[in-house]
Amino acid sequence: MRVAPAVLVFRLAILVCAFAPGSPSGAASGPVSLFNQANHAYSLGDYEEAATLYRQCLEAAQSVAVHYNLANTYTKLSRIGEAVLHFEKALVLEPAHAEAQANLTFIREASGLTAKESDMVQEVAHQLTLNAWCWVATFGIWGSIFLLLLPPLFGGGSLLSRVILLLSLLAIPVSIAAVLIYHKESRKIVILRDDTALRVAPSSESPPNAYILAGEIASIRTTHNEYFFVSADTGDTGWITEGEFGRIW
């Protein structure tokens, strides 16, 4: 059977794409398979199995969808702490993920968790991912340097170059501020167990200062040996140990 050259070229291109290094279908075939199996288990109502498969998937590679689905699975299992943790992780990877935002808001309201209002700066920062802000800062800094140093050597810049310089200069503080906000949020943790005691002192002998619910967000302020002094969004502070929370970042 004779095959047209164009068809041959097309088939060859498909093969190259299929086996090209770094292609999602090739490199992540393991995670993809696990992801599909987990989805199947989820659809059958076997949430424990689905959660196990999603976790195995995350050990190989991360994606927003895996975190999101795992968070949904934990919600089905009434493990609110882990559910909030993985919704937050999904939003770190993609702040504009609408489903994750919606489900996170929903379980917070349903569970009586504190929802801390974001200010405008945070809202702006969350318009892009952290890495996107890093690129913005990079281009802003280098653009500003180029546009400040080169036009004098070429007899002065045009209006366009001046506008670009202005934008670059403006992008620098905005992007750095956004990166700093993300950096601050990197200390955020999620309480994993209900009635977690916030101790007054970093000691097992210490009395509890307060108890907080699973899924509450807190920030690590300092550490002392195996204890972490945290400040929860509820306003409570105290010392907890590593196993009592999950890190968003």
Binding site: S78, F106, W135, V200, A201, S203
Partner: protein, 742 residues
């Protein structure tokens, strides 16, 4: 071979015929033993190593068994055949000793002329047997003569170099004992006479003991040991004794003659009890304890000892039990040590349990111990005595001998327990008794108010650590102090020694705190019977004021868990569905600025920027700086003219070569002039070179090039008169010289 000869010489076994066959055990190799068996089977005459000597004993000296065999001369057979080995008395010294040792009162046996007689059967030998054996013996004697010369040399060598010589130099020691030292009526004990350090012949004159029947046919054994390269020889004669009544029998001290010297044999006693009384004083409980007074709360390191007389064996049915509620005691385990001690002049095997006692009450307190044991008969113990693996407690506690069940009591152990003295007792004393050291450490010592400090207090030493509690110190005004965590790490199995560690968490309330106060600790020293104060020194602190965000938070009363107050969420019903596609995969979700690749990529725009700036600035300089531009262009022009000159030289074009050479010189010098280089004359060039102090040779070469060019161009000189290959080298050297001029 030498070794074999040495052995048989050192320990010649003796076979005795006519008085019942008896052998003298000694150190020998298996071959010697085999040959001795041949002798016992009556194969003596076919064995070249068998020599028969006739020993004539006086009738009055013959013992009981000898008398049964009949009076008259008795024939003893010795393996060694040579009369040269006989001692002064005419018999081998070991043989003499052996013979005499096994006779009740031998005196000095008289050896008759050696003859080669057959080994007699009981009751004597026939004439035919005697003749046959005599023939064989003569034949053997002939062979012996051949061997004798060789052996004589070997013996001389052995006696010269062997350690046997040192035996004679050893000090002779005599000991006597009964084994076992205590028996029940009807049993037998061995009276053992041990001669150490001598293998000379010895004669016995043993005293008789009323009520104790001694079998005068001793069993003689000989042992050779090597200790630190020295040989130690001992001979033991064991006499079986049988008591006829119960009581204590003492074989008094008596004399024994060894090698002509008289030695004193010490007395030995044998205890004989009626059946059933043999276990009296056989099991004893004792508590090895510190001397009084002891104090309430003091930990007493004691040893509980169970003495078991060496002639019996026991099996523990239970661990020793304490009776007495005035003491607490550490747990007794199966891990006890064993020893051997003499108690009331009797050897005992001892099991030792280390035990910690703590008095609880003051006053005269009584403590007793008891244990259930099964005591086995002494005969079973004796059967095992020669076991290769016999050790002190091999079987007493682990064998399953049938025996009598008994309970062993320790009797009352009285303690004088006192209260700790009130005089000199520090107010903060909390009951520590023993000997201790204290160290403390705080971390961090520079902090802000509200941050926690870990204060570690370590108390180490020996004493009642169970009563060493966390010292309390008054810091409530400056610190928030939480109950410390305590941990004890023992350094011995009883927990009497070790280190107790207390970890306090302190939170300074304000920046006005400057130090951690002293931690009070004192103990009662049992050695000096005084209180020792080991309170720690204060630890300096640097406390900075807390920022607003981390202001010191002192806790309110702990609120109740909040989860119970909130209804169980039921969020799962309204969740948005899961996603069916995985989306893009991310290997590393970390921030980009932590990526090394990202940071390295920042070098690219930096390199581009620097390159653009450098190129642009060079171009601008070339436009603005003519001298710089001339220097740059002169270099290029010189290289171009030189290339033209080389090509002309290769073509043999002298005119072209010299014109190109002149242009190269002009370009090279022209960068120092404002005018065009092509317009430079030789005079100007000469003037310039002179002003730079150029060598005369350079000037001459330059002049010659210019003159040659003019001569060809204007004078019509022939081109063939120039060696252009030489000129190329001259020109290159000249150009290098000119370029080097500043």
């Amino acid at each position: 071979m030498l070794n074999y000869l040495f052995n048989i010489f050192q320990a010649p076994p003796v076979s005795c015929h006519g008085n019942g066959s008896t052998e003298l055990p000694g150190t020998e190799n298996p071959g010697a033993s085999e040959r001795r068996r041949h002798v016992a089977r009556g194969e003596a005459t076919r064995n070249p190593w068998t020599h028969i000597v006739k020993v004539t004993l006086p009738a009055r000296d013959v013992g009981e068994r000898v008398s049964r065999a009949g009076a008259g001369p008795r024939v003893f057979k010795h393996r060694w055949c040579s009369s040269e080995f006989f001692g002064p008395a005419g018999a081998p010294a070991p043989l003499q000793g052996a013979l005499m040792a096994r006779l009740p009162n031998p005196g000095v046996p008289r050896l008759s002329t050696p003859g080669y007689l057959p080994a007699p059967r009981r009751g004597g030998v026939t004439a035919n047997e005697s003749m046959t054996l005599t023939r064989l013996s003569h034949k053997f004697q002939k062979r012996c003569g051949q061997i004798r010369a060789t052996l004589r040399f070997l013996i001389v060598m052995m006696t010269t170099f062997s350690p046997v010589v040192s035996v004679n130099a050893q000090q002779t020691r005599i000991s006597a004992s009964f084994d076992p030292p205590a028996i029940t009526l009807g049993e037998r004990s061995l009276y053992q006479l041990k001669v150490e350090g001598s293998q000379e012949s010895f004669s016995l004159n043993m005293p008789r003991v009323s009520g104790l029947k001694i079998d005068l046919q001793p069993r003689v054994s000989r042992s050779v040991q090597w200790v630190n390269g020295r040989q130690s020889v001992s001979i033991t004669a064991s006499f079986t004794t049988r008591p006829e009544r119960k009581g204590t029998f003492v074989v008094p001290s008596w004399d024994v003659t060894i090698g002509g010297n008289i030695y004193r044999v010490p007395a030995a006693s044998l205890k004989v009890v009626a059946p059933g009384e043999e276990f009296r004083d056989a099991l004893i409980f004792r508590l090895q304890r510190p001397q009084d007074p002891v104090y309430v709360g003091q930990t007493l390191r004691c040893n509980l000892k169970l003495y078991v007389r060496s002639d019996i064996q026991i099996q523990l049915k239970s661990m020793p039990r304490k009776e007495g509620d005035a003491f607490t005691q550490s747990e007794l385990t199966n891990e006890f040590t064993t020893a051997q001690e003499n108690f009331r002049n009797l050897p005992y095997k001892v099991a030792v349990w280390p035990v910690i006692l703590t008095p609880l009450k003051a006053g005269r307190q009584i403590l007793t111990y008891q244990a259930d044991v099964v005591v086995s008969s002494s005969s079973s113990a004796r059967r095992r005595r020669n076991s290769l693996f016999d050790s002190i407690f091999d079987d007493p506690f682990f064998t399953r001998n049938r025996g009598e069940e008994r309970t062993v009591f320790s009797g009352d152990i009285v303690f004088d327990v006192q209260e700790l003295p009130k005089a000199g007792q520090p107010s903060h004393f909390n009951g520590a008794i023993g000997k201790f050291d204290v160290s403390n450490k705080a971390s961090p010592t520079e902090l802000t108010a509200g941050e926690p400090i870990t204060l570690v207090l370590e108390i180490s030493g020996e004493g009642n650590f169970d009563r060493v509690l966390a010292p309390k110190f008054d810091a409530a005004t400056d610190f928030k102090v939480y109950s410390p965590k305590s941990e004890f790490t023992p350094s011995d199995t009883l927990g009497l020694q070790g280190t107790k560690r207390f970890e306090y968490i302190l939170i300074p309330k304000s920046e006005s705190v400057t130090s951690i106060p002293s931690i009070p600790f004192s103990y009662f020293a049992t050695e000096t019977l005084r209180y020792v104060d080991l309170s720690t020194a204060p630890i300096a602190l640097t406390v900075l004021p807390a920022p607003e965000a981390t202001a010191v938070y002192l806790p309110p009363a702990a609120s109740a868990p909040v989860a119970a107050e909130i209804a169980e969420p039921a969020p799962a019903a309204s969740l948005l569905p899961i996603q069916l596609l995985p989306g893009s995969w991310i290997d590393d979700a970390g921030p980009l600025y932590r990526s090394r690749g990202f940071m390295a990529a920042q070098g690219i725009p930096l390199v581009v920027l620097l390159s653009v700036v450098a190129v642009r600035r060079r171009r601008l300089r070339l436009q603005r700086d003519h001298a710089f531009a001339r220097r740059i262009s002169a270099g290029k022009a010189v290289r171009q003219r030189l290339q033209e000159a080389r090509e002309a030289a290769n073509e043999g074009d002298a005119e072209g070569f010299f014109q190109a050479a002149c242009r190269a010189i002009q370009e090279c010098v022209g960068k120092h002039f404002e005018q065009e280089s092509e317009a430079l004359t030789f005079v100007e060039i000469q003037h310039f070179l002179g002003s730079r102090g150029t060598e005369e040779k350079t000037l001459a070469t330059t002049r010659e090039i210019f003159d040659s060019a003019d001569a060809i161009r204007f004078g019509g000189s022939s081109e063939e008169t120039f060696d252009l290959r030489t000129w190329i080298g001259e020109l290159s050297s000249l150009i290098r010289t000119l370029e080097a001029l500043s």
